[in-house]
Symmetry: C2
Subunit: 116 residues, 2 copies
DNA sequence: ATTAAATTTCGGTGTATAACGAAATGAAAT
DNA sequence: ATTTCATTTCGTTATACACCGAAATTTAAT
């Protein structure tokens, strides 16, 4: 694999909001509007972050009715992707924003979120 | 450690030229003009890349007469920095540009390089 | 079929950054 | 002290990207 592509993998991880998304998805699969609610960003912004993570191979998507579920790509054959995903729980654990995020996704419910 | 700072660590690794520099420094310590010769960039550009890697904690510098030697920071207490440095040899091994770099640093000599 | 809702794509804006050459800095040799 | 040489800093330019709101798309429900 070319070094430019490895660099792109690290670039995908170089944004705090994308790291927060990965941490949340390591708890459970989430739709765009749930992530949007927690991060307090525009839906389009979250969608673009998800697109970056997906292109890099860190996450995959799954259609679920009117929602799109995003989840961690546990089956990646790329060594970097696989190791990064397995290291993330140890590397990022005590950040206050992340802790708050992980609390929120327990109470977040896609059925009364998006159209208010 | 805040997640913004973790993101910065990945950002430091998100540039192909900086990855190439790290790979070279894992062979031996190098001065700015040697790295410049191998990467074929402006000296100022290389200096800035080194500054990014140093601020992130991946490398350290050492004065050596009129030269400045840069070397891998093997003593980092940051888990991410330490693991990334130890993983790099496995993650990036077969890239043609990197292989060429590693060959070049064997023949590169700071004493007849910079002022030609 | 039409409407409604979730998501993606698009256009625009401001900021970050990779690159360069030139000027400034610092150290060594004359 | 002055010159030389390696490196850093600065000013500039071009590109990348994070963000938003609006428009387009896709899917579900009426």
């Amino acid at each position: 694999m070319l070094i430019e592509e490895k660099a792109k993998l690290f670039k995908a991880l170089s944004d705090p909001n994308r790291l927060r998304i990965l941490k949340m998805l390591q708890i459970r699969k989430l739709c765009v509007c749930e992530i949007t609610e927690v991060l307090d960003l525009a839906t389009s912004t979250v969608s673009e972050h998800l697109s970056v993570l997906k292109k890099a191979g860190f996450i995959i998507e799954e259609k679920d009715g009117k929602w799109v579920n995003y989840m961690i790509n546990t089956g990646s054959s790329d060594t970097v992707v696989a190791s990064m995903l397995s290291m993330l729980p140890f590397w990022i654990s005590s950040d206050p924003a992340v802790s708050s995020d992980l609390n929120k996704i327990n109470s977040v419910d896609r059925n009364n979120l998006c159209s208010r």
